[in-house]
């Protein structure tokens, strides 16, 4: 009985705070999404409008564009490239040649630099490098690849690849370091056995390394979906959803509709769409990650 009182007292503050900041708001967001609440008229409150916000969202021409940006560019492209490049770097740093040259430990340290750089600063760095008279344009013109400087973040052809580059620079190191630590646990005998069977380099990678890393890749990929789909800062700080609204994504649309157009109701409806999509991934998270974390930790 004394234990029970102790358990409750110890857990209560954290749990109450989490319920207030995660539990209550998600329900209130649902309620707001059924109203026409305005940021300028919060005192008088909003009127109940039923599903009007959701109907508007479906009939707006720009919503499918925003959805496409979010799913294809912000999420799918960045997640796939992040995993591919991260895997590439991990495999590269695990080669014995580099270990003998002591390059691997230097490279590990180098990975810490972008990883420790806060996203808000990573965007600053790349906005500077991608300036009209910045480093990237200078380098490309010096190599005669382009003849005119490109306004990378203002040109529709280059803006998304540029945003994805910023995201990758900032987040690939975490993936690479994770996979590298997994790679170092692959038993040496697996490779020796494969070599005896006459496996080629590619076959060893395909049938020994990759299956061994697969669980880690899946988990990192899934987590990566969460970080990317919900991410606000990369797009907002790199382009402000521009040029125009060309790079608008769900997260920036939630902010724009609420704090620029003052339409809290409509903005909350978009938020609910995001919550539903993430809820679907949440089930995967529960199965793949949370379940494992629970077993490992408790």
């Amino acid at each position: 009985m004394r234990d029970r009182l102790f358990i409750t007292t110890m857990l209560l503050p954290a749990v109450v705070l989490l319920v207030l900041f995660y539990g209550y708001p998600i329900f209130d967001n649902l309620r707001i999404s059924f109203t026409d609440l305005s940021l300028l008229g919060m005192k008088k409150g909003g009127n109940w409008v039923g599903l009007a916000n959701y109907r508007e969202l479906l009939h707006r021409g720009d919503f499918s564009h925003i959805l496409f940006n979010t799913l294809i560019w912000l999420t799918a492209t960045s997640v796939l490239l992040r995993l591919l490049i991260g895997l590439g770097i991990a495999v590269l740093l695990n080669t014995r040649a580099l270990k003998t040259l002591r390059l691997a430990s230097v490279a590990r340290f180098a990975l810490l630099v972008p990883w420790a750089t806060p996203p808000i600063v990573a965007v600053v760095i790349w906005r500077f490098l991608l300036e009209r008279n910045g480093f990237v344009n200078d380098a490309l013109m010096g190599l005669n690849i382009i003849s005119q400087p490109i306004a990378f973040l203002a040109d529709m052809r280059t803006v998304w690849p540029s945003i994805v580059t910023i995201m990758l620079w900032n987040t690939v190191p975490l993936i690479a370091l994770s996979l590298l630590s997994n790679l170092q646990t692959v038993p040496e005998e697996y490779y020796e056995a494969a070599e005896l069977d006459g496996a080629t380099n590619w076959q060893m990678f395909r049938f020994v390394t990759l299956p061994f890393l697969m669980p880690a890749i899946l988990v990192l990929g899934l987590m990566s979906v969460f970080w990317s789909f919900n991410n606000f800062v990369y797009v907002w700080l790199a382009t402000g959803a521009g040029p125009g609204t060309f790079t608008n994504v769900l997260a920036t649309e939630v902010y724009l509709k609420a704090f620029v157009d003052f339409r809290l109701g409509y903005s909350s409806a978009i938020g609910m769409v995001m919550a539903v999509v993430m809820g679907a991934f949440g089930i995967l998270y529960l199965r793949l990650v949370a379940h494992r974390q629970l077993e490992e930790t408790l």
């Binding site: 234990d3 102790f6 358990i7 110890m10 857990l11 503050p13 954290a14 749990v15 705070l17 989490l18 207030l20 900041f21 995660y22 209550y24 708001p25 209130d28 967001n29 707001i32 919060m42 695990n94 014995r96 040649a97 580099l98 040259l101 390059l103 180098a110 630099v113 972008p114 420790a116 806060p118 996203p119 808000i120 600063v121 760095i125 500077f128 987040t171 190191p173 975490l174 370091l177 994770s178 630590s181 070599e195 080629t200 969460f226 789909f229 919900n230 606000f232 800062v233 939630v254 902010y255 903005s267 909350s268 938020g271 949440g282 998270y285 990650v289 974390q293 629970l294 930790t297 408790l298």
Partner: protein, 279 residues
């Protein structure tokens, strides 16, 4: 020399493969590190280095940002983030201790719920929290931001701390309790000293998450004298003119504490565990 007879082991390349691996590594190193160095160097040059002047070294960028009130943003960030880190760490240690030591009915459900906090779409909370904060006068307030960042960091901190605490044998607690110590004394006098590096690493990471948080600060802090560092950094981006010298100096000031705090703790924060905590 193995270079003349390339090994068939893919992890042990010889000859041209060796050269390729080294070249690729050097290119990778360059792409990873050069951008950060470029900005560090640029922060000491007029106009960030984009201006063609003879002057190669100046601290004027730094002087200018502090004249423009950057000190105030630093102060705001320090107050908010230190307070949030302390509250969050204390509450997380309390919860994590219980999770690591006791069996109770709702344990798995509660812990799963806390794990979910790590992947929660925070952007969805902005509107309802803004409405609630406005009603409680917590917009443009230290208290509002401290509470927000406390809630923001608890899921990660609890998860990390439980991981450390389960490695401390329960027999340690039990022996002390038989000797007449209370649970509080056990936590304070036995667990804390043993797990101090883990606690410090967790608290430091929680601090860094708050230090660089942008979205909530943007929505909840509109008054200039209350703004935090990330907002202050972006105020140097004008609508049609960017003061690159100031932006870079401000970036260095924002990032320096992050590097100084992150390097000593990164051994404690394995990438695998942290995968859940990156927003």
């Amino acid at each position: 020399m193995t270079a003349t007879a390339p090994s068939r082991h893919w992890r042990d390349p010889g000859g041209w493969q060796f050269v390729l691996a080294v070249v690729l590594t050097i290119v990778t190193l360059f792409v990873l590190v050069y951008p950060a160095i470029y900005v560090l160097v640029g922060s000491f040059r007029p106009g960030g280095g984009l201006l063609s002047t003879a002057e190669t070294f100046t601290i004027r960028n730094y002087v200018r940002i502090f004249q423009a009130g950057f000190g105030r943003f630093i102060l705001n960030s320090v107050v908010i983030c230190v307070a949030a880190t302390v509250v969050s760490t204390v509450l997380s240690v309390m919860a994590a201790y219980v999770f690591s030591r006791f069996e109770f009915r709702a344990k798995r459900t509660l812990f799963t719920g806390i794990l979910f906090g790590q992947v929660f779409p925070w952007i969805v909370l902005i509107n309802p929290l803004f409405v609630a904060f406005a009603a409680m006068h917590l917009i443009n307030s230290y208290v509002g931001m401290i509470l927000t960042y406390t809630a923001f960091t608890i899921p990660f901190s609890v998860y990390m701390l439980v991981g450390y605490l389960v490695t401390v044998p329960k027999s340690l607690d039990e022996a002390a309790i038989i000797d007449g110590a209370s649970r509080w004394q056990v936590i304070w006098l036995i667990i804390c000293p043993v797990m101090l590096p883990g606690f410090v690493a967790t608290a430091t990471y929680a601090f860094l998450l708050s230090w660089t948080e942008y979205l909530f600060a943007l929505a909840f802090l509109t008054q200039t004298d209350l703004k935090t560092l990330p907002l202050g950094l972006y105020q140097f981006f004008g609508d049609d003119y960017v003061d690159w010298g100031a932006v870079m100096a401000a970036s260095v000031v924002t990032t320096l504490p992050v590097f100084l705090l992150f390097l000593p703790i990164q051994g404690w924060i394995s990438p695998g565990r942290i995968a859940g905590a990156v927003k």
